[in-house]
């Protein structure tokens, strides 16, 4: 950190407070002092409620809702922003400081064409004519590696993918050559394979233009790629500031250490010993050639809109199957099929060798009891009008006919099992924190005494440190209760840590099924490789090193069309083969891959891939 020269941004003793419904002022951000040098990228990192976005917005002289800057100073590029009248601030916003929002999908006006919005900052500040601005915008689209840069501006926001909108928003922020750009969690809402494309584009532009930036994020690994310095925030206060390497490798504060530990790759949990079973015993749950979707089913058992196509797998007692895929890959539908919430169009689901009916009302109570669902969002998974004790108690009554004091005692035991105090039983979900809700959610599923838990993104809505603790709990529970999990996630790191076997879904089709050992091996389906290569690592310079072949393709191609679903995004595809025929399934040691290249072709592929970087 060089202290020479004038900093571009200087916050000194910044305090922001919010006025509540009673008219009381409450300080939410206090005593923030930090500086950003010209050309530097500073990351603000912290969990939800840490005040990171609030602080970042103060550098635009902006506060949301009932918040206001109640103390300290904000100085950007020689302008004092605190206390500046709105009209003066307006002249600075979008010209001196600009903003890239977390969800570009929401931040673009749905009624206006994209180009009009991108060049608007330049026009309202009277910096250039429309023609010049449009030319410049197209140049930025190109620099941000947007496909069809000359025409994308004519489209409306809903016609463009999320990853592209995020880059378009960056173009909008950069059109005026501002002194400072604020990036507010710009990749959080994106799939991991899209995130890396966007990150690369951001990094290239920031480097080429020498932009000074403040990058807000909760993800240390992302920040490690793009920032020069990190400021760790918690409860509206600075915990620690330092260069990226200092924070990552020599954290001084306990909290920073916990953050770094949570972001680091997890040590895989000790695998469960195989439970004793006879050789002829069927697996706990087995799925065979399941096809599912919406709309009428044709003669071949294919629905009009196919979400899942030909999924087969088995989970043994006490084992964990990790299911991984991006949004729209059909992974949640898979859980719904197992739970009986979505009847498959064809194929079978077996429990202990007996075929389960497609719909809940045809399954018997015992079958329902043995499979329990745990959802991602504990806010919606718990009924806000029902107390914790009642929520956990209901399955006890329903499945085990427990009532009165027996039921109460069992509720307390279950709360204890998920490491929650018994006193919570009388509370309503609204009074609990996110982590507590997710534990109650888990306890309710455990109350049925299931054999299989279907966990749908159970940790992704939680802050990393809290998510880490819930994950630890899941691993402990599995050991204590001999539970089997179907663990659905978009995070390959979690799958690596917890799963015995991994299924990779793409466009509703399993492209790879690998044992834990095979997953660490070298041979994978191209999509699996892309996924693995896209997860940011907790070291600076990873992004530059990650030069594996990425593609411009959008998300999964839906529909019935034959051929490999990954064809359009695959860097090593063979046109004429991959886009015509469905790939055959190749079986290897602890691993099956659905790819035309087969194991031999894939082994040869890395060399091909080096040269092939599609536009």
């Amino acid at each position: 950190m060089t202290l020479s020269g004038d900093p571009l941004v200087r916050l000194a003793g910044l305090e922001i407070s919010v006025r509540d419904a009673q008219g009381q002022d409450k300080i939410i951000v206090r005593d923030i002092s930090l500086e950003v040098q010209p050309g530097e990228v500073l990351a603000l990192i912290g969990e939800s409620g840490s005040g990171k976005t609030t602080i970042a917005l103060s550098m635009l002289g902006y506060t949301r809702g009932a918040c206001r800057i109640s103390g300290g100073t904000v100085e950007v590029a020689g302008h004092r922003l605190d206390g500046l009248p709105e009209a003066r601030l307006r002249g600075l916003r979008g010209r001196v400081v600009s903003y890239v929002a977390q969800s570009a999908a929401a931040a673009f006006n749905p009624m206006l064409p994209i180009m009009r919005q991108v060049i608007e900052p330049a026009l309202v500040h009277g910096l250039m004519t429309r023609e010049v601005a449009e030319d410049k915008a197209r140049g930025l689209f190109r620099a941000l590696a947007l496909p069809r840069p000359d025409t994308v501006g004519d489209r409306y926001p809903h016609q463009v993918s999320g990853g592209q909108l995020q880059r378009l928003m960056a173009a909008m922020a950069l059109i005026t050559d501002p002194a400072l750009v604020i990036f507010d969690e710009p990749t959080t809402a994106l799939d991991v394979t899209t995130q890396i494309e966007v990150l690369k584009a951001f990094k290239a532009v920031v480097r080429d233009l020498g932009t000074t930036a403040v990058y807000v994020s909760h993800d240390l690994a992302v920040v490690a790629q793009i920032a020069d310095r990190i400021c760790v925030l918690r409860d509206g206060m600075v915990q620690e500031q330092g260069r990226v390497e200092e924070i990552l490798f020599l954290p001084r504060q306990d909290y920073t250490r916990a953050l770094v530990a949570a972001a680091a790759a997890r040590v895989p949990a000790a695998p469960m010993p195989d439970l004793p079973r006879d050789a002829g015993d069927p697996p706990l749950i087995q799925m065979r050639d399941v096809v599912a979707g919406y709309g009428g089913v044709d003669a071949q058992g294919n629905p009009q809109v196919r979400i899942l196509g030909g999924v087969s797998f088995a989970i043994e007692r006490g084992k964990v199957l990790g299911v991984i895929g991006e949004s729209g890959s059909g992974k949640s539908t898979l859980a719904r099929v197992v739970a009986g919430l979505h009847a498959p169009a064809s194929g079978r689901v077996n429990l202990d060798g007996y075929t389960l009916e497609g719909e809940i009302r045809h399954r018997d109570k015992e079958q329902l009891r043995r499979i329990q669902l745990v959802f991602q969002n504990a806010d919606t998974a718990l009924n806000p009008a029902v107390s914790v004790g009642e929520a956990i108690g209901r399955p006890l009554t329903f499945f085990h006919a427990l009532r009165g004091t027996d039921r109460k005692a069992e509720v307390v035991r279950l709360l204890d099992l998920v490491r929650l105090p018994a006193a919570l039983a009388g509370r309503l979900p609204g009074e609990l924190s996110g982590g507590q809700k997710q534990r109650v959610n888990l306890a309710r599923a455990l109350a049925a005494r299931p054999d299989l838990l279907l966990c749908d993104e159970v940790t992704s809505a939680l802050d990393p440190v809290v998510a880490e603790a819930v994950l630890d709990l899941l691993i402990d529970l599995r050991r204590e209760l001999g539970l089997a999990y179907m663990f659905i996630t978009h995070d390959i790191g979690i799958v690596r840590a917890i799963a015995d076997e991994v299924m990779v879904l793409y466009g509703g089709v399993p492209v790879e099924l690998a044992s834990h050992e095979a997953l660490e091996g070298p041979l994978h389906h191209p999509y699996t490789r892309l996924l693995m290569a896209s997860v940011p690592e907790l070291r600076p310079g990873w992004l530059e090193a990650a030069n594996s072949a990425f593609s411009c393709g959008s998300s999964a191609g839906a529909g019935h069309a034959a051929g490999c679903r990954f064809f359009q995004r695959c860097a090593i595809s063979r046109p004429g083969l991959c886009d015509v025929l469905d790939p055959a399934v190749h079986v290897g040691a602890g691993q099956t891959i659905a790819c035309h290249l087969g194991f031999d072709g894939l082994q040869a592929a890395p060399r091909i891939a080096q040269g092939a970087i599609p536009a």
Binding site: L60, G91, G94, A107, P110, M111, V124, H158
Partner: protein
Amino acid sequence: MIAKRVGGALLTLFLLSLVVFAMSLLMGGDAAEAMLGQNATPEALAGLRAAMHLDQPSWQRYLAWLGGLLRGDLGVSLITKLPVSTLLAPRLLASLQLAGLTAAVSVPLALFLGILAAVRRGSLLDRAISMATIGVVSVPEFVIATLMVLIFAVRLHWLPALSSSRDFSSLHDVVRVFTMPVLCLACVVMAQMIRMTRAAVCDALDSSYVEAARLKGVPPRRLVLGHALPNAIGPIVNAVALSLSVLLGGVIVIEVIFNYPGVARLMVDAVSTRDLPLIQTVAMIFSAAYLMLVTSADIVAILCNPRLRHR
């Protein structure tokens, strides 16, 4: 998509004709009895029934009635024995004049006040508008009309209390006839429209894209007119349509109070005398007008939204 909306409205209208016709079946006795009165001979009754096709099964009568409506044959009034269309035509014109004038006054004013209240949210002006509109919405139309008569006609003697004159020889006369009823109706209609417009614009102003535009340095006027309003058009058009449909109900009370010779006046008289053909026809006209308003609002909203326009 637009065809679907229009089809839906037509289906509703068809169902409605069933409901309205079914009402006539519910009426104790039938039209023949109503026409001839208590002491009619059975023979006379039977003769009249045959003449009016009342002896046919109800579904045949329904088809005949519906066919008549579609051909523009609205039937004959039971009381005056005149064709309904003859009775209706001048009244309809008068009512349309009243409604049209009210809409012309209230729509621009309501939109302006609604948007103003949304932009100045929380200000004294906003709260005053909010209080006034909630007051007007909470009170029956006749109360507002009564108060206005009390103030403008009785106390101040500025305007006549009745608007039955059809003499439009000078602008002065027109003003005298229309001011009071239009003012009352506009009051009622505007209150609804202002509230809904304000809510729609507030929603748009609270959105992420308006925040993003503000952080681009977009000035307030452009923020409201260029960013928030295009998104609020759908709900606003809907609000206008719904409020104007309130006009359809409100006009009844207002016409009665001011003795204004419109359709509603005719309708109320028809209800008192249980002149069913007249009632049915007017009900169908009002309902069709309502459906037309709501459906055209839907269509405008679809055309204004690129997400619905560019499929």
